[in-house]
C-alpha cells in the first residue's frame, strides 16, 4: 500500500491504518528501536507506541514522508525509554555510540546551556554543510543507529572507509560545536 493511501486511512480514522503501517514499516521500526533497547519486548512495545503516536498525530499532521515521520516518533520513544544512567541496561552498540558522540563535545557545560532548539539549529547547519556522502554516513550512524558494517553494505563501501568518514565528521562536529557562541 502506498504511503498516501495509509495516510488517507489515518485521516479516515480507520484502524486498518495501523495494520497497514505495521505491515509496511513494522520491521524497520522494530530494528530501529532494537538498536537502542536491549529487550525485544521493549522494542516491540516502543513500536506499538509509535503507531499510537501516529494515530494521535494524524490528523491534523499530514507527513510528507510517512516512514521518516514514524521513525522520528519511534526514535524519540526509544530514547525516552533508554536508561542511560544504568550501563548494564545499555547494549554495547549504544555504549559505543554514546562514546563516539562524547568525543564531539568540546565543553559539555557550555553546550548544555545552548538549549534544544539552538542545538538543533547548530546540528542542522552542520549537516547542511557536510558533503553528501559524509552526511549520509553520519545520519545512518547517529540517527538510524546503524552498525558500521550495515552502513558499509548499504553504500557499497569498505568498513574502514565508513569509519574514516565518521571519524572526520565527528572531528568537524567537534570544531563546529567549539566555535558555537554560548548565549549568556
Amino acid at each position: 500500500m502506498e504511503d498516501q493511501e495509509i495516510i488517507a486511512l489515518y485521516f479516515a480514522r480507520e484502524e486498518r491504518a495501523i495494520a497497514a503501517t505495521g505491515e509496511k514499516y513494522g520491521a524497520p521500526l522494530t530494528r530501529l528501536a532494537s538498536r537502542l533497547l536491549r529487550l525485544r519486548e521493549d522494542a516491540e512495545e516502543c513500536v506499538n507506541d509509535t503507531y499510537l503516536g501516529a494515530w494521535n498525530a494524524i490528523p491534523p499532521t499530514r507527513p510528507q514522508k510517512l516512514f521518516v515521520f514514524l521513525a522520528r516518533i519511534c526514535r524519540n520513544l526509544a530514547c525516552d525509554r533508554l536508561d542511560f544512567r544504568n550501563a548494564k541496561k545499555r547494549s554495547a552498540e549504544v555504549v559505543a555510540l554514546t562514546d563516539e558522540m562524547a568525543a564531539c563535545l568540546p565543553d559539555p557545560n557550555a553546550l548544555d546551556a545552548l538549549g534544544d532548539e539552538a542545538l538543533g539549529a547548530v546540528l542542522n547547519d552542520f549537516l547542511e554543510k557536510l558533503p553528501k556522502e559524509s552526511r549520509l554516513i553520519f545520519m545512518r550512524r547517529y540517527w538510524f543507529l546503524d552498525p558500521v558494517k550495515d552502513i558499509a553494505a548499504r553504500y557499497g563501501m569498505g568498513e574502514s572507509r565508513v569509519k574514516t568518514s565518521l571519524f572526520r565528521t565527528r572531528k568537524k562536529l567537534l570544531e563546529r560545536l567549539a566555535k558555537e557562541e554560548i548565549p549568556l
Binding site: Q64, K65, F67, V68, F69, A71, R72, R75, N76, C79, F84, L97, T98, D99, E100, M101, A102, A103, C104, L105, P108, N109, A110, L111, D112, L114, D116, L119, G120, L123, N124, L127, K132, R135, L136, M139, R140, Y142, W143, F144, A152, A153, R154, Y155, G156, M157, G158
Partner: protein, 275 residues
C-alpha cells in the same frame, strides 16, 4: 532531553533526533548508483587477480617457448669456419643433448683437465674438459654432433631459451685444448637469469686479442664469468671483431645486461662473430 550534569554523549545522541526531516529522508532514501556488496566485490577482485596471473603466466610461457635460437644451427654448422676465423664461439645446449654431452665429456680420448685458464679466470669450480682435438672436444653437443645434437636439426633451430641446459664456450685458438671449456653442462644453466656482456679495451687492438667477457648469473646467485677471446689479427675475422666492439660501444662501453629472453640477441651477436 535530560538536563542534569551538562551535555554528554548520550544527550548529543538524543539531540541528533533534532535533525531536519530532509536529512533523515535523504539518509533513508538515498542509495548510491552502484551498490555492489563488498563480499561480491572481493570475490570479483580475487578472480580478476587469478585471471591476470594466469594470463601473465601464459604469455610468459608463450614468449619463452616462442623465442627460437635462430642462429643456433648456423653457429654449429659454421663452427669450423668460426674457429678458423675468430677462435671464439658459444653454444647453447638443449636438454636433448644433456646425455650426449655427458657421454662426450666422460668418454673423451683423454682425461679432462681443469678449466682454469687465462680465458676462464673467474669461473667457479670448472668442469674437467677433454683435451682431445677440437672436433671431439665439442663432442655430441658441438658442431659435429650427431642426431641428438643441435646441428641443423629443427630442435636446434627452435631451441627454447628455457630448455638450455648447458653453455659451451671456446676462447682462444681452437687448436689449444685449454681454450675450450664447458660453462656448465649441468642443469644450472636452465636457471640462468641474466647474461652480461662486456668488452675489454685493448691498447693495441691490431696486435692483441680483444677479449669479451660473458658473465652468467644463475638463479641461485652463482655468477660465472667467461672470456670470449676473438682473434684480432688483421685480416681474416678482424672485420667481425670490429663490429662486435661497435656493438659494445653502442651500449656505452659498459656492461650490457640482458634478460635471458634476450639471449637471442647475444646468440645473434656470437653468430655474427662466427659467420
Amino acid at each position: 532531553m535530560k538536563k542534569e550534569n551538562g551535555m554528554n554523549g548520550e544527550k548529543l545522541l538524543v539531540a541528533m533526533g533534532l535533525a531536519d526531516e530532509r536529512f533523515v529522508a535523504e539518509a533513508e532514501e538515498e542509495r548510491p548508483a552502484r551498490v555492489v556488496p563488498m563480499p561480491a566485490l572481493r570475490w570479483a577482485a580475487a578472480l580478476a587477480a587469478c585471471f591476470t596471473v594466469l594470463v601473465v603466466w601464459a604469455v610468459a610461457v608463450q614468449c619463452g617457448k616462442g623465442a627460437p635460437l635462430e642462429g643456433g644451427a648456423s653457429i654449429n654448422s659454421s663452427a669450423e669456419t668460426a674457429r678458423a676465423k675468430t677462435g671464439g664461439a658459444l653454444w647453447l645446449e638443449g636438454k636433448e643433448n644433456a646425455d650426449a654431452a655427458e657421454e662426450a665429456v666422460t668418454g673423451g680420448e683423454e682425461e679432462g683437465e681443469a678449466m682454469e685458464s687465462g680465458a676462464a679466470e673467474t669461473a667457479e669450480e670448472p668442469e674437467p674438459m677433454p683435451t682431445a682435438a677440437p672436433d671431439s672436444a665439442f663432442g655430441a653437443t658441438g658442431p659435429d654432433a650427431g642426431d641428438g645434437g643441435l646441428n641443423g636439426t629443427p630442435a636446434a633451430a627452435l631451441l627454447p631459451a628455457q630448455d638450455v641446459e648447458g653453455l659451451r664456450t671456446q676462447s682462444g685458438p681452437a687448436t689449444e685444448p685449454w681454450s675450450e671449456y664447458d660453462a656448465e653442462t649441468a642443469k644450472t644453466a636452465a636457471k640462468l637469469v641474466g647474461i652480461m656482456l662486456s668488452g675489454e679495451a685493448v691498447e693495441e687492438p691490431e696486435s692483441a686479442a680483444a677479449p669479451i667477457t660473458l658473465e652468467f648469473t644463475f638463479a641461485d646467485g652463482t655468477v660465472r664469468t667467461f672470456r670470449l677471446v676473438t682473434d684480432q689479427t688483421p685480416g681474416e675475422g678482424a672485420g667481425e671483431a670490429v663490429d662486435m666492439r661497435a656493438f659494445l660501444e653502442d651500449s656505452g662501453g659498459t656492461w650490457r645486461e640482458a634478460a635471458f629472453a634476450d639471449a637471442l640477441e647475444l646468440e645473434l651477436l656470437l653468430g655474427y662473430v662466427v659467420e
